[in-house]
Symmetry: C2
Subunit: 727 residues, 2 copies
Amino acid sequence: MTTLAALLLSGAAAPAQELRSPDGNLRMRFSLDEAGTPRYELLRGDKVVVKPSRMGFLLRGKSGAVQFGGDVTAAAPVRPTESLCDEFEILDSQTSAFDETWQPVWGEESSIRNHYNELCVTLRQPQSDRRMAIRFRLFDDGLGFRYEFPVQPNLVYFVIADECTEFAMTGDHTAWWIPGDYDTQEYDYTCSCLSEIRGHMSGSITDNLSQTSFSPTGVQTSLQLKTDDGLYINLHEAALVDFPAMHLELDDRTMVFKAHLTPDPNGDMAYMQTPATTPWRTVIVSDDARDILASRLTLNLNEPCKIEDTSWIRPCKYVGVWWEMITGRSSWSYTDELQSVHLDTDDLTKIKPNGRHGATTANVKRYIDFAAAHGLDAVLVEGWNIGWEDWFGNMKEYVFDFVTPYPDFDVEEIQRYAAEKGVKMIMHHETSGSVRNYERHLDAAYRFMNEHGYPAVKSGYVGDIIPKGCNHYNQWMVNHYLYAVKKAADYRIMVNAHEAVRPTGLCRTWPNLIGNESARGTEYQAFGGSKPSHVTVLPFTRLIGGPMDYTPGIFEMDISKINPENHSHANCTIANQLGIYVVMASPLQMAADLPENYERFPDAFRFIEEVALDWTESRYLEAEPGAYITVARKAKDSGRWFVGNVAGKEHLSDIRFDFLDPSKSYVATIYADAEDADYRNNPQAYTIREVRCTSKSRLRQRAVEGGGYAISFREATPEDNKLPRLK
Amino acid sequence: MTTLAALLLSGAAAPAQELRSPDGNLRMRFSLDEAGTPRYELLRGDKVVVKPSRMGFLLRGKSGAVQFGGDVTAAAPVRPTESLCDEFEILDSQTSAFDETWQPVWGEESSIRNHYNELCVTLRQPQSDRRMAIRFRLFDDGLGFRYEFPVQPNLVYFVIADECTEFAMTGDHTAWWIPGDYDTQEYDYTCSCLSEIRGHMSGSITDNLSQTSFSPTGVQTSLQLKTDDGLYINLHEAALVDFPAMHLELDDRTMVFKAHLTPDPNGDMAYMQTPATTPWRTVIVSDDARDILASRLTLNLNEPCKIEDTSWIRPCKYVGVWWEMITGRSSWSYTDELQSVHLDTDDLTKIKPNGRHGATTANVKRYIDFAAAHGLDAVLVEGWNIGWEDWFGNMKEYVFDFVTPYPDFDVEEIQRYAAEKGVKMIMHHETSGSVRNYERHLDAAYRFMNEHGYPAVKSGYVGDIIPKGCNHYNQWMVNHYLYAVKKAADYRIMVNAHEAVRPTGLCRTWPNLIGNESARGTEYQAFGGSKPSHVTVLPFTRLIGGPMDYTPGIFEMDISKINPENHSHANCTIANQLGIYVVMASPLQMAADLPENYERFPDAFRFIEEVALDWTESRYLEAEPGAYITVARKAKDSGRWFVGNVAGKEHLSDIRFDFLDPSKSYVATIYADAEDADYRNNPQAYTIREVRCTSKSRLRQRAVEGGGYAISFREATPEDNKLPRLK
């Protein structure tokens, strides 16, 4: 580590300091402007990625006591702020280099290189003698920076009133965005120029069970941008711990994004105690969209794994008593007789069941049988525990106890039966946003899982948070989600949290966080449908922070075939659904459709049976947000390669199999859209063909809009000589 | 039960229905006015106590979705309300009578009569078909009423936006009041006419570590009033469960009080699920102030005891390592070296202690020795657990873990030593308002108490509640306090909660709630002093809801004698302090001063040693709020009688001992202010005299301002013949 400069300038602008990426292609310039405001700038070759952008915070000052005048209608007390974004001088500057390779417990690669150059600038406000450091890490594929507040006499505890960090764009870029919201990310993506966001905002805010928009130009991270001259820029954050989630608010005259944190009920953003660090603010950039998907910057900016023995963390492919409720064929609830539920006093054994309850012992056994027959690992059951009759929208605190089954769900018998069949059970904890109630029951609920053979839990946070005024993504809730994950680790439980804050690479540190939702998942295909391009955007946005429990595998797109009253249509083809298993890598993959729908298409379902969940290598072959993604991955267990493609509009792939071992020859089984496939009118039209191939082979493969394809490879045997050969 | 009327009136006012108290002296009239608004009126003989007063609620209606216009500064969404306070018709009316006698686990009497006549009126709004019942219980000493929401199709879950209940006074009464506040009751009382409240408000709001005033005419309950024609009226609530605490807001033109509930961070008051009931709104009334103190109305309106085996609930007299910290002689914290505490990483064994830490093993043993020598039951120790260096004011969530002692506090050795000496230990859990942190640790903390011989806990809620925006007295927090008490009962632990919501008689239902603070306690005598009349008001206000851990027994009023830097003065005499032990009945009584101060006055301390904690009978002999209270009580264990007096201004008691057994003769030991006693300049001047007496004796006894007296009685023996005889 070298001290570059120990400048003590006051009032005057400091000369810019430059940091270069290991390959020299990216340059970050840090400077103080004439006001003493820290600014950074990011360049890629000769192109500006981020123009000089302000950094820092406003802190909450002490407010005066409330005074009553002659009138009851006293105005809100004045809440002054103190600036931690100007009048800085540079106290110290350190650069260093870092290069190490680490092994994730699961993921897209078995080995990840963490290679960056670092600049850490310590700033001081002479008047208050407050210090703040900004640590920059410049990788070949992007920049991460965070604020650090060392222990110091004049900054011990403090309250952040606003974050001033800017990302000043160079023009009116194209963006794939969803509305900024304190409570949900479950929106369809809009692709528009930055200047068009304001006009599209109202139309982009679709209904959700809990939602809080904050600005007509507010958007969420991870945000994928594309410049007119072909740069792909991705803005997000890494290692969101003990801090509110960051949104972006656009000044659409200047094209400057400003950080917008999720407030607490009081309007404050974060409560800090030194030493403290913020999450990393990240800018991933490349002129090749594939590099965005292949970037490990977000994981690299997180702390190493904190779980010593990770042997119990295992990727998992599962079916579930779920889609039948989502589509409305069956119900989470047991009875229609109760106007509202009183967990303490209702005796459900004496109440007439509605006859539509999904989570019955017999039905669960059917799913266990299906999982066992098809080599799937596990079965999720939702609606097994009492409380579903009035489970959301009522601000009801004692909504579930997480341990009491409905009368028709025999926990012990299911435990015995699943064990006999070699199938694991996945627990479900819907909290309905009643997080205090969840925490009160958490130990008992996890203990119940340990005792009844549930190694993983899907948790949910549907509806408004209690107490009202708290939002899903504020600091208090961010702390809750991690609390649940850490406590789960104590019980050797894996967590897949839905409606929780979006992931920011924390699965590196806590690999028992095997999944999150935090985006518009497959369920919306039963709620009116998602855009056919949706899954070509998610890997550029939501997945930057970690895997998603997207729950793919829909084979019956006409939802009325499942529930005649539901006229929704899944906007995808079967081949698209197969492609997702490879494109949207996750250690947790559901086969979401009903067993009976899979039994109609056993040849296509074969791919879901075979596809791996954990990988040693991943190669992004083609990518363009909103249009197409094609990726090849090598399975950790078998060494087999798989390829997946999803297409947001009609796409003709032209890919080479140069990832294959050149010394071997292979058979590729290609699951693809049929000639006449159409996501709307003919989504079940697929072809499956087997071809011989080698690492020199080249494939031209068409995918329709909302379509895709999937390929599994195996080593060829002499018997395969009869198969056609791919050129 | 008789159906009085099943009227179905719509639009027209209903004739008033009258309910009489068992003795016929109180009358309550219920009616619907022409707007269909329910109104009640209370009369005592011919005097109006409460003029016709509105009843009902505003409910929160559905608000529209947030819409963004062209501007970022979107206005707050419209939050409409629905009226549940007019357009009612009477659907049904039932009257009944009730008379039973029950035995409290502890208290001022061993047997309590619960005797009332009841009227329950069921109302209906024809347009919405919503139903609400109002249940009135009229006792000889006052009225309780509550709202009930039966199960019904059109009111399942609902949100209360405002309570419309009024208490319309007949004139500009005298009131003993403290400022309405969502977070604290720790104010000195102001005595003024109602019309003067507004003018006195600013001066009455003194600094507190957490405080939220809401109105220049807002006051707290229990509120004690006195009319010009000599009626004493007390307004409060009973059985505050799953509802926000009620304050009163005065319209000082009409002299009408309106209920003002404590809001949640969103501005809503209460989340309700039918069937639901509100707490009881109470009006205690008499022309004799003693009846207010003797009223058991608040307890009677609470549910019977819900703890089956109460054998482990035992009244307790204690000393504590506490006053030395309150006065500033010693410290809760262990070190001055830490700028802020990190519980997970700080290693205190390697950090220099400050030498002023109170909770050391040696010091605690000194208190145990003192308790054992003087027959006291227990020792409280504050500051024993790590975290006190930065324990409040920082919105720090992980502030205590409740189980890790400082290096100089040997839990096991203290457990052994206390057991050997036959002394119990009282645990201390300061939460600093970080209630989620407390709940996360609650099981472990209670388990720790069970394992280390702590049968009772003093809990504290100093500072703002986390998450900020939640106030101490809102529904969410009210639910927390009861959660902690119920869970404590599971562990057979008694709770004495400070800074929690004011009591409302819940100790009947949960008698392990042996104490609360919820008012300005003795600690303020070391923070600048309280008014000398303070303890003559508390029994009329704070104690209406249940006992207070007031922590009396200060013998050294010049606080600088304890800590030369603290120039506060306790505004009371020693005789006053002794009187409190009888006047302010509580199953938990502290002898708050330092052992060395008691050792200077062993003859006076004798009264504290002897005074009982639990009673079979209580007779209020004299009472006037702000002026004097004299009470005689008979001990449950020994059958001995004790008398206590406190005087807010100079007072000459003239009392008779007719409570004594007429067949016996007694010796009374009278601890009184000396002739020249003066709370300011000569507070330690007391006299102790022994006199022979019988049930026919009459005592004239002077108490100075801030003074008082205490008397213990024992049966006379022949050897007592030498003692002077009281006339």
